[in-house]
Symmetry: D2
Subunit: 143 residues, 4 copies
Amino acid sequence: MNPTDFTERLVVRLPHTDAAGVVFYPKVFEIEQELFERWLELGGFSLRDMLDRKLAPTPIVRCEADYRLPVRAGDKLVAQLAGVEIGRSGYTLAWTFSLGAEAAISVRVKRVAIDPRAGESVDLPEAFRQWLLETQSRTGGLS
Amino acid sequence: MNPTDFTERLVVRLPHTDAAGVVFYPKVFEIEQELFERWLELGGFSLRDMLDRKLAPTPIVRCEADYRLPVRAGDKLVAQLAGVEIGRSGYTLAWTFSLGAEAAISVRVKRVAIDPRAGESVDLPEAFRQWLLETQSRTGGLS
Amino acid sequence: MNPTDFTERLVVRLPHTDAAGVVFYPKVFEIEQELFERWLELGGFSLRDMLDRKLAPTPIVRCEADYRLPVRAGDKLVAQLAGVEIGRSGYTLAWTFSLGAEAAISVRVKRVAIDPRAGESVDLPEAFRQWLLETQSRTGGLS
Amino acid sequence: MNPTDFTERLVVRLPHTDAAGVVFYPKVFEIEQELFERWLELGGFSLRDMLDRKLAPTPIVRCEADYRLPVRAGDKLVAQLAGVEIGRSGYTLAWTFSLGAEAAISVRVKRVAIDPRAGESVDLPEAFRQWLLETQSRTGGLS
């Protein structure tokens, strides 16, 4: 992932598609999860630390996607982190997937920091909030 | 699928889960697609006919999901078609996935009928609109 | 799953397919995993118990599949447990997926019981071995 | 993909895993499909051309995998094309996935060139055979 503008080049592969010849709609969230992990790593964090509970895990509480153009196997997409919203325990990342100059798919995913033993939301860890703020300073917020 | 109340019993299987021990969030949309196909078949339609263009295909233009409870491998869910919204060319199905008495996950998916050659939206085929209306008369609309 | 002959009727759904219009080849193993879990449950066992370590987990050590016929969305398959091989700690289940009278896909998956703490193979638990033997008495062994 | 030794560095991501905490076994074939497409592109070919029938498509007729080590989210793997077998219409690619110095997973996938209209196997296109031979000259054959 480009650390300056949070872009990533992707090629749509056969496993992303279905018999209608286009991206099978849930696959954009599988891609989002990988982009999320790469963004974590840019900030010095890792999913592994969340799984090992060295860092508060942040399960998904909400996701949404809009599909504006059909995307096919072999298409070259540019994914970009387009905006961040930061709450007390939750945060939302918005991604756009562009095909040439056009926005093909946009995705928003909200995650919330939890204490996995208590099963309750907790404040975002301070270092993680700093990374969110630094990211937001470059991407802007969400409208 | 129960033809009266559009419910379906599901068991969460290992392929639905991830290393956090819960349902991997995009998997609910894979389940939704199968439920959608079963609902189509209850009305006398089929995805096969859409793929073969005997019936206008209705690709997804928008989806969203809310995750309220962690759901684990072996959990027994009841899925139910909870509401329908009907437009000129588009329609939205809302599904709830309950774990015992509690709503664990809710999903909304909007599809739009298209002419695949022109790549433009078309009016919902009349017989299909009738099936949407009949479904809506039992599930209610969307708030 | 039919408890007498270990058959299960399946409809191929869009999530199983790819842009070539046929079943995406790894998807047969996702289906196998669900069939495996249903077979476990017929014998009074569960994947949940394996995940909770009330029963020795049996991770996959080998799998293979042969694809003889193209299988498309909407196709109706009959899956059947076609044979079982039983070792000291490992066991192999062979499945066939038929389209009408023809074998379309066949799959073999070998799992091995382990002690997850030591990371070493262990003898198959006795009750589980009995279920394998009972299954084998109905399906036959593997050639 | 490194064009000299056909290696590719991979990080195991959450979508590859299941509730047992390790790679869900069919996911290695999804990864294989992406590696296959990258290898095609190194040779000047593309899956898009196969889907558009500018190049004979080569559906999978057989696959197998051996799992030697548990692989977890965050693990860094090196994938390598380890050998090629070339027939009249079919060819097999063997891949190894190493974790540090150890082979964690090995995969073999056989594809066969077909005429999609006739549904019959055809000779491998000559330019494609040359690319297989050039690849084999660097990787060796299969034992």
